[in-house]
């Protein structure tokens, strides 16, 4: 099956502030060395998709730097490969994308060109591992126009933040309520669409020029009676980093559980990310490390518990880091104590400084000196 991959990665997400001060939500760092978008992008590559367009808008520098020419995902190709689809000025056109449908509409060329007959639309904010091939054959078997990825969410998700779907016995979607105040069920749409490319083009031409710009609200939901929209169930780990700092923290802490690590890192293909050519992490004579992830290039001389230590971090002698996320190239000086905090890249925590968060997690922006 010839499938074009599109990843929506333009999101701003004020709820992740200040982590999104310098980057799009798809580029927020997770699990010591990855960016959120690595998961969807690796899923696509692992599913045999050889042409991927990334729709960017909000502060894309860090995302573009991360993706480069797509080399790490084997997407630096003569045919197909990685396409960064930025908003641009043209004759008679608005510059910014006004919604997800508008973003794709403004890049109609990538849909028009190429021999792909289907389109998989995913999001750069979602953390999950999946090979989409079964979804493809499900779509064909059902004779569906559009197939949506759904999941039954448990009580750890706030259902009124998701699109809640109602299904008939055949798994056909009969209703979608976007962020309902009183959710009628617990099956949520996971933001992954699969459909015929020609159909997508038609729907976009029929909708976007009318001033309707959202893929879900303006294209899928109004057409539920006319189109055969089916749901494909996903039962694995799935989380959305964009839902806020607490969710972001939770996702990172989840990786300290073996079953989550096994699923996200070792099942359904690898997760690819930008390489940094750093030496192995070093644990010096005074190091005490428990239940933590330590990325390459880091040197730990202090105490680290229940934490995520990104690449090239220095935890000096006598420093204590607990229940925290410490991003790349941050230095925690001698005797400093950090509990329940998130430090962005390149921070410096001065000698003896004590910062303890509680339910409210203090988040320190890039290059903060504490």
């Amino acid at each position: 099956m010839r499938v074009l991959g599109l990843i929506l990665a333009g999101g701003k997400s004020d709820r992740l502030w200040p982590l999104t001060k310098v980057r799009a939500s798809a580029a927020v760092p997770v699990f010591g060395k990855y960016r959120a978008i690595d998961f969807t992008l690796s899923n696509m590559v692992n599913s045999g998709i050889r042409k991927v367009g990334i729709l960017t808008q909000y502060n894309p520098r860090s995302l573009m730097d991360h993706l480069g020419s797509g080399k790490e995902w084997d997407l630096d190709r003569k045919s197909g490969g990685l396409f960064i689809l930025q908003p641009y000025v043209g004759p008679n056109r608005e510059v910014w994308y006004r919604g997800t449908a508008d973003a794709i509409f403004q890049n109609m060329t990538i849909l028009r060109r190429g021999e792909e007959d289907h389109v998989l639309i995913g999001s750069g904010d979602h953390i999950y591992k999946m090979i989409y091939r079964d979804l493809f054959s499900y779509h064909l078997k059902k004779g569906a126009d559009i197939t949506l990825l759904v999941k039954e969410l448990d009580e750890t998700y706030n259902l009124s933040e998701y699109g809640i779907v109602q299904l008939d016995d055949d798994m056909r979607v009969v209703e979608i309520e976007e962020k309902p105040a009183h959710p009628k069920g617990n099956i949520a749409f996971l933001g992954v669409y699969f459909m015929n490319k020609e159909l997508l083009k038609e729907l976009l031409y029929a909708t976007v020029p009318q001033g309707k710009y959202d893929l879900l609200l303006d294209i899928v939901i109004p057409n539920l009676d006319r189109l055969k929209v089916y749901a494909y169930r996903f039962d694995g780990y799935w989380r959305n980093v964009k839902k806020g700092i607490k969710e972001y923290y939770r996702i990172n802490m989840d990786i300290l559980r073996k079953e989550v690590r096994d699923e996200l890192f070792y099942r359904n293909g690898k997760v690819y990310t930008k390489l940094k050519d750093l030496p192995p992490p070093k644990f010096t004579t005074t190091a005490v490390v428990e239940n933590s992830l330590i990325a390459d290039g880091s040197i730990v001389s202090g105490t680290v518990r229940n934490s995520i230590i990104f690449r090239n971090v220095r935890i000096k002698v006598g420093a204590i880091v607990e229940n925290s996320i410490i991003m790349e190239s941050t230095v925690v000086e001698e005797g400093a104590v950090l509990r329940n905090v998130i430090l962005d890249k390149n921070c410096i925590v001065r000698e003896g400084r004590v910062i303890e968060g509680d339910i409210e997690l203090p988040v320190f922006e890039k290059r903060a000196v504490l």
Binding site: F31, G32, K33, E72, L256, R261, F265, K270, V271, Y272, T273, L275, D277, L278, P279, P280, P281, K282, F283, T284, T285, T286, A287, V288, V289, E290, N291, S292, L293, I294, A295, D296, G297, I299, I308, I309
Partner: protein
Amino acid sequence: MGNIVAMILAGGQGTRLGVLTERIAKPAIPFGGKYRLIDFTLSNCVNSGIYRVGVLTQYRPHVLSKHIGIGRPWDLDRKDGGVEILPPYVGRHESDWYKGTANAVYQNLEFLEENDAELVLILSGDHVYAMNYNDLIDYHLLKEADGTIACMEVPIEEASRFGIMITNVDGKIVDFEEKPAKPRSNLASLGIYVFNYEFLKKVLIEDENDPNSSHDFGKDVIPRILRENLGSLYAFRFDGYWRDVGTLRSYWEANLELVLPVPPFNLYDPNWRFFTHTEEMPPAYVAPGSKVSTSLVSEGAEVYGNVFNSVIFQGVKIGRGTVVKNSVIMTRAEIGENCYLENVIIAESVKIGNNVRMGVGEDAENKLDPKVYSGLLTVVGMNSVIPDDMVIGKNCVIGIGVGPEDFKSKTLESGDYVIPREE
């Protein structure tokens, strides 16, 4: 102005490394948690701005060739120049295995010609060091030498293991002794040379036509240049870290030096990175209740036990209650629960069961090859499986691909060995 071309000699077998080099060439041996030996020389080349590199392979080249590939991790995938693997090939007259280091370069004069070489760097693919070759080249140009040899001062009692230079006050080499019994100087050759191409070509052709030569740079070419006064050779003094990890003991020591608080060899220098071809792996995980100190624990490793003074490679699993001490554990090895391992070298993809004790007991000379397996180290070759409850002594060796059925009892005395049964 022509080009600088590096020729990396990577054909060596490294017989004194025993089971580690039984299946792979010495330059392909894993080192320092994620590297292979040749990474250091390749990285030195690109960090020095040298992007024309030939790698001369011969012994067991598969792992090495796959590792280097088209040179992408070193930025050597170039339109102009880049890295080229130069294996021996059948010439017009006979099957031409490389007869020695000089012959290997001689057989690839065409490669140097094609690359429009003006200066040729001759390097070894199995040394651990960081050197900016521009310093060597600048010295060579300053002295207007025909050839320059990088040298290091070594303790005089160790000098007889090396090629020793005798120089005048200007640094010009007046005499050279290969592994002398009574060294007249402590200036040892590092096997790193730079030659003017035309000069090198001339002496290599002459050497090839010399029926008494064994076609080796150290043994034949350098002594003859000096003896017959064919050109001027200078000694460039290098005072950084340099190791030829030729024996199991020196291999083990050089690895464990990396875990020292201030290591003599710095892998973490942001201005001199070492590049390698590695598998994509997630960060290392250390579990609750584990103790890890004075160690390197590479990506993809999952540690549930305790690790002291050791180098743990990528993807290694260490089970609950296990203690690993003074050891080198290579990529994807899996160690079960409640084991005790001390002074061991475990090769790639070895599986060790539960309650295994290794490197324990009295000292005893190895029965298989005491010259290779010594220094109180126990070595396990790649892909071997060690069953539960084994007790294995010191100076033991377990071969490549040994299975549980190859062990006759639950005890392997110090100095004993297990090699797989013949198929």
